[in-house]
Assembly symmetry: C2
Homo-oligomer: 190 residues x 2
């Protein structure tokens, strides 16, 4: 009644997540079905349930992986080897570049909202913000109010989320990014 696939690449959580990513971001959580994901992968939908308990768990595992990736990126931007101003600006620019280079990741992490998924919402975003804040503090010689760092975060988020929504790539807005980053830096350094 059934047949197993001649396996050139075995299905795994990672393979499923990668295949599902684009779909989830293009169509939204509700609009993507397990059958669609399976079709995308060239497997039957039943196979996914061998690797994930259900759709929500798959989605959440994907989000978690995105946060790991983003946090790594932030880490790599933390080196303070140059002038204070350039370090901070590099960090701000890096945030924007990441968001627009991986718009689907960013959307899933910071923009998507779905009742069915809310239960899975953890402290992942806050943890990422903490890293961001620490990186700012580490690169800043003079003391800075927490409020300002948080404002910088909100400003970056406004920039990235808007251009993610309308589907612009980083190079489309590179020029504007520069002046935007300058403005945020001025606010921080004021």
């Amino acid at each position: 009644m059934a047949a197993r696939k001649a396996v050139d690449r075995e299905l795994s959580r990672k393979v499923i997540i990668d295949g599902a990513h684009q779909l989830f971001v293009d169509e939204g959580y509700q609009a993507v079905s397990m059958r669609m994901i399976a079709r995308e992968l060239g497997y039957s939908h039943g196979a996914i349930y061998y690797h994930f308990k259900n759709k929500a768990e798959l989605f959440y595992a994907m989000v978690e992986q995105d946060f790991v990736m983003f946090n790594k990126e932030l880490m790599s931007l933390m080196q303070h080897n140059g002038v204070e101003e350039e370090n901070i600006k590099g960090l701000l620019r890096g945030f924007i570049r990441f968001g627009l280079t991986y718009p689907n990741h960013y959307e899933v992490m910071f923009m998507m909202k779905d009742k069915e998924i809310e239960q899975y919402a953890t402290n992942a975003p806050e943890q990422t913000y903490k890293m961001f804040a620490d990186a700012i503090v580490a690169n800043m010689t003079k003391q800075i109010e927490v409020k300002r760092i948080w404002s910088a975060f909100l400003m970056l988020h406004g920039f990235v989320s808007h251009y993610v929504k309308i589907g612009h790539a980083f190079q489309d807005v590179e020029a504007l990014t520069e002046s935007y980053v300058d403005a945020i830096f001025d606010m921080l350094a004021k």
Copy 2:
């Protein structure tokens, strides 16, 4: 085979839109069914189809109404009766207050994204931005780069969209709003 409701208040496009609003924002476009909306209203789902061609048209009519409301609000913030600084700050504050007072409207207008709905995406957001930009220019004595106004818009959007997403009301963030508005003003006036 059927029975008609003892009518104390007849169904209308407006009544349907109002009833559907909360649902759409709480659950998202896909997760809300015509049957749910009808149940919410105390009518049968078929009745909605008398007033709207289909689900997408209902949704779009709702969004349109939200933009009209928002634009009116912006208009009312355009009076320049005081000091330049207070006028501008009042405008910025007004944007945030509106967004957080009507988070579901804001979400539908500026945050929601759904493939099935994209076709309906008109120039409504741009029109709203134009009004915002005009209001800034009208209240500013000295000339100002377009880039800066746009940046202010993105900053406001970052603030509002974040707090809309996590469900905070305006009074929850009133204190932070003040310093955020100050920062944006400084950027504009610099």
